[in-house]
Subunit: 278 residues, 2 copies
């Protein structure tokens, strides 16, 4: 099934859906829904009824709006590692984002004071149950599902110092969504095509089967360091094809439309806006 | 005045105090207290009454238990920068911690699976009002006050990859406290002695006036990237004298007592415990 957070009139709703449409819940968002006991039974019961509503893409907010932890893995597709001139790593390279960094599936991405703005299509892993010091099997069982994300990066800020955080933490610059496809329905290790296009031109085109550290590896690894809870997010890194890897980088400009898609999940479509000119 | 979060029987309380003792409030912690309107008038009124209670050091929890953002600045004292062999930077080096990373003033620091555990005495800056895209003057006005912290670091994990986060994010390893001294009472730029001792032996001894980027610089810089809100924390970096800088590092061992002190604020005293042997 699909789990979403949907904007309607003056509030948001958790929503559960499938190919035939959506059912809205009283909970304010998918993160709140999956924190309730028996949510899966309620969701499955709702999907047994034929009544569905259609939703506009702009209505899809980030499904999990209050993660206490967003871990991001850098350098995790073999081709992107080669692109940056590095060796295949023994350990995942991890950095953080904040809940405020995230935004919705079709929201404009409004930036300022950067002139090296880049895309990074990523598979997002959403945690469904508390997980601490887990092995791979326990980690896999703690995964709620998968969403599409784009770790839009201010490369000028990112490269000011040794630590990438400041180029990755601008408010409302990382779209997540459009919904979470639950882990029982999809297997990124089986190979899902992941793409990014800028104004319709394909710039990234890879396969989630090429991840060095897969979703269970990353959840298990992070869980050695800190507890993860429902709604926490792990972004699994981006494949080759970012502007930073080009001999003459094509940085994002005002009005550019970035489309990020993962086979079997869905697509994000975000327009770049500079509020102070590039 | 001093603001604290105090553990009593089955709950915590916000507490306001000075040299003569403490007054407890109904709010659960100092972060909740400073989120209420008129909190400063209530606190000052409470301190005009002579009734005070004494508190044990073990009762002091991290004063701000739910920061949505903890920014840490690396390489910010001139002597520590020299110790690591680097040049004085143009921009602050920033990385993140999570609320779960923090712990109380006298709490044991329980670690596992590390054999290069190090200390980092730091001045913590606590945000008091929402601040976004601020200049230095606005940033200074948004500072609630200052506390002592120690960014206990797993150097083996920190140095596994280019990004430091994983050596800095183990749960309940960064003490913050024992209380917040409000910004009207203390000026780190005027020079406050900051020290760290291990089992009574002084290992760090520096002056907060030697910060390359001071509290207002850091709040202003971070606020260009993301909004900061009451209870958010910026750790300002550590001076020279860490184990990592020693020709033959003296890593922390089970039972070591780490005392971290800043003149005019107070002292943390934490015992290191390995739950799986060093």
């Amino acid at each position: 099934m699909r789990l979403a957070t949907v904007r309607r009139a003056d509030r948001t709703h958790a929503a559960v859906g499938d190919d035939r449409g959506w059912v809205l819940f009283d909970e304010a968002d998918a993160q709140e829904l999956v924190g309730t006991s028996g949510w899966r039974d309620r969701a499955e019961a709702a999907l047994r009824h034929p009544a569905r509503i259609a939703l506009e893409m702009q209505e899809f907010a980030n499904p999990v709006p209050r993660p206490a932890k967003v871990f991001c893995c850098g350098l995790n597709y073999r081709d992107h590692i080669v692109e940056t001139g590095r060796a295949v790593p023994e350990f995942p390279t991890l950095f953080a984002k904040f809940a405020d960094t995230l935004t919705g599936a079709e929201d404009d991405i409004v930036v300022h004071n950067t002139d090296r703005l880049d895309w990074e299509a990523e598979l997002a892993v959403i945690v469904g149950t508390e997980v601490h010091r887990a092995d791979r099997v326990q980690a896999q069982a703690a995964i709620l599902g998968y969403a599409v994300s784009n770790d839009i990066s201010m490369r000028d800020w990112q490269q000011r110092t040794l630590q990438w955080l400041q180029g990755k933490a601008f408010d409302a610059t990382t779209p997540v969504g459009p919904w979470v496809v639950t882990a029982d329905e999809i297997d990124p290790n089986g190979g899902l095509r992941i793409t990014c296009a800028v104004n319709g031109e394909l710039v990234q085109d890879a396969d989630t089967a090429d991840l060095v550290f897969d979703a269970a590896d990353l959840i298990a690894y992070v869980s050695q360091i800190t507890v993860l809870r429902p709604g926490d997010i792990v972004l699994t890194g981006t494949p080759g094809g970012v502007a930073l890897g080009m001999p003459e980088p094509r940085w994002l400009r005002d009005g550019d439309v970035v489309t990020t898609e993962i086979e079997g999940i869905g697509a994000l479509r975000n327009t770049i806006r500079f509020d102070d000119g590039p």
